[in-house]
Symmetry: C2
């Protein structure tokens, strides 16, 4: 029997046995224990070895075959075919870690066979209410030709009615007239930046912050200054100092489950943040995109609830993280005196979003599908967050520190200067692990190494596997055992 060493499979796990088999073999290919050309046991041998049925062993191999890791030829046997094509991967990956370059690298690598990606702060495709959602395209939309017409720049009226309910769940009192539907939070951030800033003007952001916002600011020529974040969110003394120094147009913040750190603004900081905005006549841009994804206690309501006139805070959220990213449906509530200016720019940007999708989303929400969906996915994401924290504690070196997110999809790792290989990002990709290097989220480097690890998209087993490999890469003198990665064609945004 060919040389292979498999740990006993665990019948108490929810993961099907064939997937456990596939994962173990995949991991050994990844880390070089099973080099290319290794002959694997026959299905009969594998079944006997593990005490599983032949069907299970067969299914495990089929999984690996469809992933491009192994090949079975009748009469010859089953072989590892993953090649050590590190040059191809290196060629695909850029050599600087600027937000744009990292966005491009990870986009290019997004569909690599067998990549365990913790790079995207996004929901798991397997948990989307896809088929259920598609049903809402049928009866109402098919025959309402108004939905095939140009829509209003503000967005479908029925959808705005439903979004009022989502807003209320976050404590935000609004009428449908107050709501502007956008093409994701990204368009909202674009509209805000275009409306409130001129090229060369300064805005404040958290450090680290959402890399998409850094992209928006750069594209509009705004100058970003970062204000440090700790476990209680943005540091207010530093914020006040930055306001005094830079006279910014606005401060962009994610008070709930911040991307990339996962932290929340501490309750005792909320009132003072508002007071600072008042005192220095500053807009607060509140990005609440993860607000509904709470895994422990109920989160604080939106910051916007502290601003009853709504004159100080521009509130943004989206269905991308809580429902389906590809709908490209975000929404915003803006100060009344900015409404016309924002709608004017939105109309110039793309006239309107697609009414058909907006109405389908409206029906989905109207039929009460949102809450059960959140209740269904919350325990899944909590389980992944828990597993990530558990494995981190076991596998990360002593010098590493990380945040303890209570919601959202992101965990932020900090390694002191000199404690991580310079090319950690590249090495991890060679082992089939993707994360987002912290530099992408920083306005300026702080001398430490940071990693954003996203746990939303991976099964607990894969999280365990990825962190185990990552832990090994952080050990001094870790081996470099490259793995073959096959490139896809799509470029997707990093979120």
């Amino acid at each position: 029997m060919p040389a292979i060493h498999l740990e006993t499979i665990d019948r108490t796990l929810k993961t099907p046995l064939y997937l456990q088999i596939a994962e173990q073999i995949r991991m050994q290919i990844s880390d070089g224990r099973l080099p290319v050309g290794t002959q694997l046991p026959t299905v009969r041998e594998l079944a006997a070895l593990l005490g599983v049925t032949r069907l299970t062993a067969q299914s495990g191999y089929r999984e690996l075959q469809s992933g491009g890791w192994i090949e079975s030829t009748v009469g010859r046997g089953t072989f590892v075919i993953a090649t050590t094509d590190t040059d191809a991967v290196r060629a695909m990956v850029g050599h600087d870690h600027s937000p744009d370059q990292v966005m491009r690298d990870i986009s290019r690598l997004a569909r690599l066979t067998g990549l365990r990606s913790m790079a995207y702060a996004e929901p798991d495709a397997a948990l989307w209410p896809g088929a259920d959602f598609m049903r809402f395209f049928q009866h109402p939309a098919a025959n309402d030709s108004a939905l095939m017409q140009y829509g209003s720049a503000q967005g479908d009226e029925m959808l705005r009615v439903e979004l009022v309910t989502l807003l209320a769940a976050r404590g935000v009192a609004a009428t449908p007239d107050d709501v502007i539907v956008t093409s994701g939070v990204m368009q909202g951030l674009s509209l805000v930046t275009a409306t409130l800033t001129h090229p060369g003007e300064t805005v404040l952001v958290e450090q680290p912050t959402y890399l998409g916002m850094l992209h928006v600011l750069s594209s509009y020529g705004a100058h970003a200054v970062g204000v440090p974040v700790d476990d209680g969110g943005v540091q207010l003394d530093a914020l006040e100092a930055a306001i005094r120094q830079h006279h910014p147009r606005f401060f962009y913040t994610m008070p709930a489950f911040q991307n990339p750190t996962g932290v929340c603004l501490a309750p005792e900081r909320r009132a003072r943040l508002l007071a600072l905005a008042e005192q220095y006549d500053l807009y607060l841009i509140e990005d609440d995109i993860y607000g509904a994804l709470a895994y422990d206690s109920k989160p604080e309501p939106a910051l916007r609830t502290l601003d009853p006139d709504g004159a100080r805070i521009i509130y943004l959220s989206s269905l991308s993280k809580v429902l389906i990213p590809g709908l490209r449906i975000g929404y915003m509530v803006v100060p009344p005196h900015l409404r016309e200016a924002i709608l004017y720019r939105r109309q110039a940007m793309d006239l309107s979003g697609p009414p058909l999708l907006q109405r389908a989303a409206a029906h989905f929400l109207h039929r009460g599908r949102f809450k059960p969906h959140i209740e269904r996915v919350t325990p899944k994401y909590r389980e992944r967050r828990d597993e990530l924290l558990r494995v981190m504690a076991q596998r990360m070196p002593a010098f590493a520190r990380w945040t303890k997110p209570h919601g959202g999809f992101s965990l932020w790792v900090t390694l002191p200067a000199g404690c991580a290989p310079l090319d950690l990002h590249h090495r991890a990709l060679m082992h089939g692990i993707a994360f987002t290097p912290g530099e992408a989220f920083m306005v300026e480097p702080d001398g430490q190494t940071h990693l954003r690890l996203c746990f939303g998209g991976l099964q607990p087993e894969l999280i365990r596997e990825a962190i185990t490999i990552l832990g090994r890469l952080l050990e001094p003198g870790a081996a470099r055992s490259p793995v073959r990665l096959r490139a896809g064609v799509d470029e997707r945004p990093v979120v």
Copy 2:
């Protein structure tokens, strides 16, 4: 029998008899011949009067009832209930004719009961392949979770493959890699303006031109200078003079079936336009959105065909006019050296469009549904264009001139200074007729009165009716007989 005078109905028309009855009565309500409170004949009387069945007469009344024009009460009879609520209409309509204000006015009035709108350069909702299109949401999309993911900024790959075929039909040779999918031509224009201009810089546009482009330019702070258009498109001597004087960043042009005039760039002007662009190192922005809607001979291929390197022309088109506006699917082919910059800005603008809609459109095109659709709608639009030209010749005053469009949806009327009431736009709305005042399309007024009349959205009978009323309003001392208009809530963009 109550006083009513109906012309004989025409059994040779394709329009059903009951609709002819409803239209005649509606028109008499509109122009004041049947004031509010007028009692109409009973169904039996009406049937006898016109020599139709009672069912037909009844259906005519039902049509008017559902439009809010008349009311039937058992035992009392049928009465005109449209009120002379001119104050409400006046309140809804602004007092300046700037592009933005006109866009708002017409949007607000768009769903007024009984409005005969020639204000939108858009396809007829009744001709959309709506149900056929919706079918493509079912099998492929429902189970492909990749389509619910964030898409690439460049657009769905399968759609780009299909768009290459549409481009080829206009003579444009491109590969899927060359194509960028946008949220309508509008987003393409936004991207071009954001990428190529800084605030305060000058660009050249045709005079008149697409009002959405004026909106884009204003929103990015670009300075627009208009170059006159005649029956052969832009006047090249004037263009060259403007280039020398203003050193513009680009010239925006619609060589095929221009909006709002419907004219095409004369074949003999094409080569010189390209030569001018070369000579003065200028980009040409070619908006070909109406290019596939030709009603007479085959139109010239896109201007882009004269620029084989594709370094000089940014080509834009869309599915909005030829398929379904609400899909918000446009596309562009840009010079290779601008591609990255445009994609960078697109990603900052909204990350990506909705892959679900893009893929459904791809399937629709892939299954060969586009060509039969165009072949089905072309004769309809031709018939409307023909009817418009016929009625214009009969009903317009001698001092009016107008273009003879060979495609697209727009016809451009010019009235010498002093020959039209100052408030023609308002008066027409009071009579239930909407057009777009020419000022909306002009960078600066030229002292004449212009009207854009769009024929795509109205049946020939309604075109005849609208032009008849318009002709009357242009007669000296035309009566002002206001009509009740009921407002909808939606605001739609004027296109």
